[in-house]
Symmetry: none
Subunit: 415 residues, 2 copies
């Protein structure tokens, strides 16, 4: 497989001020088009370190992807260093300046001299527009090796990669046909899923590889087929996926790039059904996941984040006596929250969450990590008790995913 190297530039990575998430995303995307990452190198904003890293990377790979160090300020020296490496000089590019003007104009900002410098790029570079920021992507070729320099801000880098770099690399280097199919599961750990599908996995043809990609609360199973013929390998991968599906049917919530929140949204939209939420421990995160999907206003009416108990009684009709008798984290209260928000928002479905995300608030009977979720609908109210451990952010995330999963299963039944 064609080898690629990634170089991330920036002192902030080396001193641990930011975690480099770019490389993992790039590695995944490159794999999808049949290219493999040989090495990831993180170096400082020092001229000689960057030069050395470029030189060494070019001895190992035919493509070198570089992120970071393109800001307009003085500590960002990637551009002059690239000029030195490619024996080029910075020139002002009017088309880059136009893009900067467009971005600044649309936000009502005034362009300073420092911004103007963003339009200076090495003469030998082919510019790739950055629609999300002022530093453009740059494509270089030298002695049979391709170098691409991109900003380190993740969504700017992702835009340039998706719009330009990945399509160009695919066109140039992808000779084998590659077909991916990812089966998305929720509700069972990696090793238990592996045990369940062991026989199927062992019988996979040699042209198909299986990868387990665990995420909190989920396991993605990625099938990758490689062959000279696209239609043939696509058919083979799909046939193997068809054999896999019945083995883990109740765990599967989607395929490929689906997200739990988009799958649930599609199901609601197809049914012309509406949803509301009432959140305690998730504190708005469930609503955030649902509304992160464009077009969610079609089926989602809103949420009452009743962080304080007084809001649970005032807005959601939770009975004071239930709060006293059972506590806010109880099956009774979470059911009342779901039923209350369904009533006041007039929706078909309503989800509610109540739990102890921690680190404080736990008791011997209800330790940190105990969460109740509820789903109210015309056919009654369902509840589920979760025990999610002591990591606050993880508990919030897992609660939301479990709540969406509860709704998904309920709606799917009706199809």
């Amino acid at each position: 497989m064609m080898q690629v190297e990634i170089i991330t530039i920036g002192d902030e990575i080396l001193i641990g001020q930011i975690v480099d998430t770019n490389s993992a995303w790039m590695g995944e995307q490159l794999n999808l088009i049949g290219l493999s990452v040989k090495q990831i190198t993180s170096v400082s904003d020092k001229r000689e370190d960057i030069l050395k890293a470029l030189e060494l990377a070019s001895t190992r790979a035919k493509v070198v992807l570089i992120t970071g160090g393109l800001g307009p300020t003085s500590d960002d020296i990637t551009k002059p260093t690239l000029c030195e490496y490619f024996n080029s000089k910075l020139v002002f590019k009017p088309e880059v300046y136009k893009e900067i003007e467009r971005i600044f104009g649309s936000r009502g900002f005034v362009i300073t001299d420092v911004n103007r410098k963003q339009a200076e790029v090495p003469e030998c570079a082919t510019v790739m527009p950055n629609h999300n920021g002022t530093a453009p992507g740059m494509w270089f070729e030298k002695e049979d090796t391709i170098y691409v320099s991109m900003p380190g801000v993740p969504f700017e880098m992702k835009g340039i990669m998706s719009d330009y770099v990945l399509p160009r690399l695919k066109e140039r280097f992808t000779t084998q046909a590659i077909y991916h199919k990812t089966v998305l599961t929720q509700g069972m750990g990696e090793s238990m899923v592996a045990a369940r599908i062991e026989d199927w996995e062992k019988a996979l043809p040699s042209s198909i590889k299986l990868a387990y990609l665990p995420q909190p609360g989920m396991v993605r199973l990625r099938l990758t087929g490689v062959d000279t013929n696209y239609e043939r390998i696509k058919a083979l991968v799909e046939a193997e996926a068809e054999k896999l599906i019945p083995l883990i049917d109740e765990l599967i919530y989607g395929y490929n790039d689906d997200k739990m929140e988009s799958v649930v949204g599609q199901l609601l939209a197809a049914q012309h059904a509406t949803l509301a939420t009432a959140e305690s421990c998730t504190g708005g995160y469930l609503a955030h996941l649902i509304t992160s999907i464009p077009g969610s206003s079609e089926y989602y009416k809103g949420s009452v984040v009743s962080y304080a108990n007084s809001i649970k009684t005032a807005l959601l009709d939770v009975k004071e006596s239930d709060l006293e008798a059972y506590g806010a984290v109880s099956e009774q209260v979470v059911s009342a929250m779901a039923e209350g928000v369904r009533k006041i928002m007039g929706t078909d479905y309503a989800l509610a969450t109540s739990g102890i995300a921690g680190p404080d608030g736990g008791t011997p009977e209800k330790p940190v990590g105990i969460v109740w979720i509820a789903l109210a609908s015309a056919s009654g109210t369902k509840t589920k008790l979760l025990n999610l451990g002591t990591n606050r952010q993880r508990t919030i995330h897992m609660t939301a995913i479990n709540a969406l999963s509860l709704l998904r299963k309920e709606i799917s039944k009706k199809f």
Copy 2:
């Protein structure tokens, strides 16, 4: 400053299956004891790639920290490769086996042959116990260079680093003193901040370096001082920070590891004041940021995510006539939302958001990215119009940060 290199081993990093968070943590910890990371290198589980990475790292640094590839399965070849590199052989170490027995015993597991192999380590290694797992840490010295091999599981690596590696390195190498101070700003782009503080930056003493660390909607300014004397460099960095602060006073929301949402939380808690939110375009994300801070229930009562207009009128007392006359994305409606939620939740402050996050819903007069935010309090209602561009997730994030910033400024005035 003494240079350290980090090598992370594992195919799962290169294909993007996991994000390498170990390096950032190690970089931060090493910095705190005055050691600096020269380079981070991620390589595959291939013998020759590991050997080459070790060899190159040793030409640049006196300390090489290695994580990963120590699992018991066949794809983990770090140990035999280390034997080859150090010209050593694997030997069974009873003290390591005892630790494995202890861990397995405490979890009620039976030790298999595969686990027993974890007690085999290169003869020339000094073993450092792993109290959280079965693969021990290993310390090597060769031709003046120290090599440390640790498991890749973050909490196992952190245990070995904290208990053994960091104290030993500190004792051996810490001669220079390092002091960091990061000034956190919001509300102005990197280049404009740079222009504002240009004279101050140029006059910085040579022992202090400035780095601009941009994040969506924010710029962090990190001052790093290096000297032989800790108290002296600390005083010098703090003195320079004192000169910087008045230049950008209205932009600064915190220092070092502060987050906007924790700073606002601390201000509210100090005032014994309470907060509620009413969200349209942020869709629960503002509530999520606020409640991501442990202890936020002390000052935060909740949110009404009024994604549908019917919820704005039913729950927040927004007038039907205002929605018709001005539209949901208007100064009038966002003010009514803030005032409405403040009233029903009985809080001191209330924030509201209404905007067009996109990609759909824009009009020529109100294009995608137009957002109104409002802050209601006893002293009246303030509003702000934002123009945030076309990236949905970014608009949601920037709106929430701007809303929190509006509140921060309002509360800070009172101190």
